[in-house]
Amino acid sequence: MPPMIEIRNLTKRFGPFTAVDNVSFQVDRGEVLGFLGPNGAGKSTTMKMLTGFLHPTSGSAQVCGHDILEAPLEAKKVIGYLPEGAPLYPDMTPRTFLEFIAEVRGFSGAEKTRRVDDVIAKVNIANVASQRIETLSKGFKRRVGLAQAILHDPQVLVLDEPTDGLDPNQKHEVRNLIRAMAKEKVIVLSTHILEEVEAVCSRTIIIARGKVVIDCTPAELAARSRYHNAVTVSVAPDKANAARQGLAQLDGVQSIEDLPSKNGSTQFVLIPKPKRSIAVEVGQKVREARWEVDELRVENGRLDEVFRELTQTTSSN
């Protein structure tokens, strides 16, 4: 079976500016692909080409075997798309809007009503379903946009910044919704919230200046951080120097970085040598030396740091 999404050498130029430069990747069923990149990197442009809104300058995109240029209607039928900023018709109510989408998607009669009711319940907008969209808060608008994208139970879901502008509770809800749909669909979502990638994605692609700079799992991404497996230690100020010196001598420790003190205790981070895990040795050393340690915390890696490194080295080229 061919992959659900196959993008080959996709390029988009606007005049002299190359927004998307020779991007290729595939996504299979069950994957949630997080599309990361600084603003203007080409995330939205890639999604607009994938969903058939923009024509690529060169290259191709296939969705469930349908080429977006040769069979645009077939491709669009299997895609659900939430464009950036969740554009909606402000003079409609969520219900009439969703009914309109359902009709365009080919549903009528009882099936149409059922789909609309289902999706209203799913994204939790029943209370505002007969209010004009222009009077709704940003969070509700985003949910109406999401409802519109999942109404026809598409095999491929493309979401451009689905949680942008939502409060933490709403973000949590949207992420749960995405996770619940992940198994039987292909989901591509763009974001610049890095925790979101760890929270919902099974794979990440970072794009900078129109080019793919990395394609890996979120865990692999975190592992690229020099803080991966780093250990943060908080210790009473009078023991700080002894602890710092003692821990610096450990075999796996590459260096020590001081942090601002917290609640009266001194904090520092032990950075491991590449690919080393130092939690165990640090723990042992602390026990042997009987330092009164307030906190000992292993870091997973800092995505923001990896993100900066990857996207800024490319832009300085």
């Binding site: 606007f14 809104f53 669009k76 554009p87 909606l88 018709y89 409609m92 365009v104 998607r105 080919g106």
Partner: protein, 244 residues
Amino acid sequence: MKNVVTLFKRELKGYFATPVAYVFIVVFLILVGGLTFKVGKWFDGGQANLQGFFTWHPWLYLFLIPAISMRLWAEERRQGTIELLFTLPVTMGQAVIAKFLAAWCFTGIALALTFPMWVSVNYLGDPDNGVILASYVGSFLMAGAYLAIGAFVSAWTKNQVIAFVISVSLCFVFILMGTDTVLDFFAGWVPNAVKEALASFSFLTHFQSIMKGVIDFRDLVFFGSLIACFLFMNAVAIELKKAD
């Protein structure tokens, strides 16, 4: 076809969801009545026809139709909903035609609401209702031509004011080509054939010929092909401009 109907219904309902529709209809009816009775002195003419009513239509449409058409695509682009629309399983042709038809249908409703004029003239005298019917058809066709031009202009910009001003100017050109002032200007130094060709592009020429009560095939072809031509250019304009 089903998509055209769905899109058409959404568009048409959209007019009545906001005060725009009611304001437009009321202003149109007041202006057309005012011009006919006050300026055109319809009663004083003492003739049982609606010539004094239809004469004003090209000039009223000049300002009122661009006010409807300016939002057609400019609004869609400003709101970003154009991206939503064209990632649904809908073709460009379906969207362009549905939007145009909805706007045309709306002007048709406004035009139909002038029926008291027809009732009064029949009450007061014994007019030639064939001529009146032909004039209504001609007026409706002309409204379609104005709309097609306005829709095309609207596709080029996100700014409704710009869309309005340019549409009015462009429609004005299509009226002027048939006026005596312009034709006299060309008289004498350009071949008659050119002069007539120019006049044949004018809304006035074709509308006035229909107002005489004869719906000539050439007038139908003129308005029909003008509408088709501008709708085609409308689709091209959207394709070119949707990325901005």
